[in-house]
């Protein structure tokens, strides 16, 4: 209903504008020609509204004319060319950046999936950092190990009292180091990165 109201309002404006234009028409033998052109304008304006109402993604010739480069006639040809080039570069950068963003997020997901295959790793969050040329410079990994949670759970399950102080969990630390090394090894073997910093943060350490 709202769309229909918009269309009716727009058609009303078009009719008023063209009626006003007809008032401005010069008298004489040229008048019928101009009235014909005004009539065409009304038809096309109404047709555009109707096509938009039925199909927003329509590619009818009436909507094709929107591809006007610029309405600014004050600019010289050179300036127009420079402006078009700039707009083209902007669009190009937008598309390329979007694609790189997509690739980066896929890469993050791939690394996370790969690292989660390492035994002892429960959860991984990956953040890939790139430079201005979109080359990978660093990979930040936030890893949650199974052992930490499993250890806590097993302690709780066994009903050990809280006030009992256990000796430092040296084997667990060694195990963590081993897992971290394994993660580095897996990433380097799989991707063959050179000069890429892999930062691994083990949560709960």
């Amino acid at each position: 209903m709202g769309v229909l109201a918009d269309v009716v309002r727009n058609v009303l404006v078009i009719v008023i504008v063209t009626s006003f234009m007809e008032l401005l028409l010069p008298d004489g033998t040229i008048k019928p020609f101009v009235r014909f052109a005004v009539g065409l304008f009304v038809i096309i304006a109404v047709l555009t509204q109707i096509t938009v109402l039925f199909d927003k993604n329509s590619s009818l010739p009436v909507t094709m004319w929107d591809a006007v480069i610029s309405n600014d006639t004050a600019l010289s040809d050179h300036e127009k060319k420079a402006r078009i080039e700039k707009q083209g570069q902007f669009i190009n950068e937008k598309i390329i950046n979007g694609a790189y963003q997509e690739v980066r997020s896929k890469m993050d997901g791939q690394i996370s999936a790969l690292v989660s295959l390492v035994p002892g790793v429960e959860e991984v969050k990956t953040d890939t950092l790139t430079d201005e040329n979109h080359n990978i410079r660093a990979i930040n990994l936030q890893v949650v190990l199974e052992n930490n949670n499993a250890g806590d759970k097993s302690q709780k399950d066994q009903g050990k009292p809280d006030n009992v102080s256990l000796p430092p969990d040296k084997p667990a630390q060694a195990n963590t180091k081993e897992i971290v090394n394994k993660i580095r090894q897996v990433i380097n073997n799989f991707y063959g990165f050179q000069g890429v910093e892999v930062n691994i943060t083990v949560e709960g350490e």
């Binding site: 040229i30 020609f33 304008f41 038809i43 009818l60 909507t63």
Partner: protein, 129 residues
Amino acid sequence: MEIGQIVGLALVTTVMILLLRQQKPVMAVLVSIVFSVIVLTMMMSKLDMIIQVMKDLNQKAEVNYFFFTTLLKILGIAYLGEFAVAICQDAGEQAVAKKVEFAVKIIIAVLALPIMVAILESLMQLLPK
């Protein structure tokens, strides 16, 4: 009041043309042309205002700018053509006036052609085959 200026100028010009037509018809035509140019120049700013308002309305109605500019061009051509035709007729050159009319009609038809083609193509696409 601009209307006062225009009416005054028109009266003076008419009297001048009436006087000049008897003795120097060429000068009468020149005075007529000068008067036309002056009136056109005086009305330019007003016309600009009208066009601006129409542009704004057009933007609100979301009508394609290309069609609107074409329509404005047609309107401008029609006005200029009428001016030229009137001047030629004043000078008694009916044949030249007819040629100008012909040229204006052709130019208007050429400008209206893309709109007509667009409408026809759109209708052809909309209608079931």
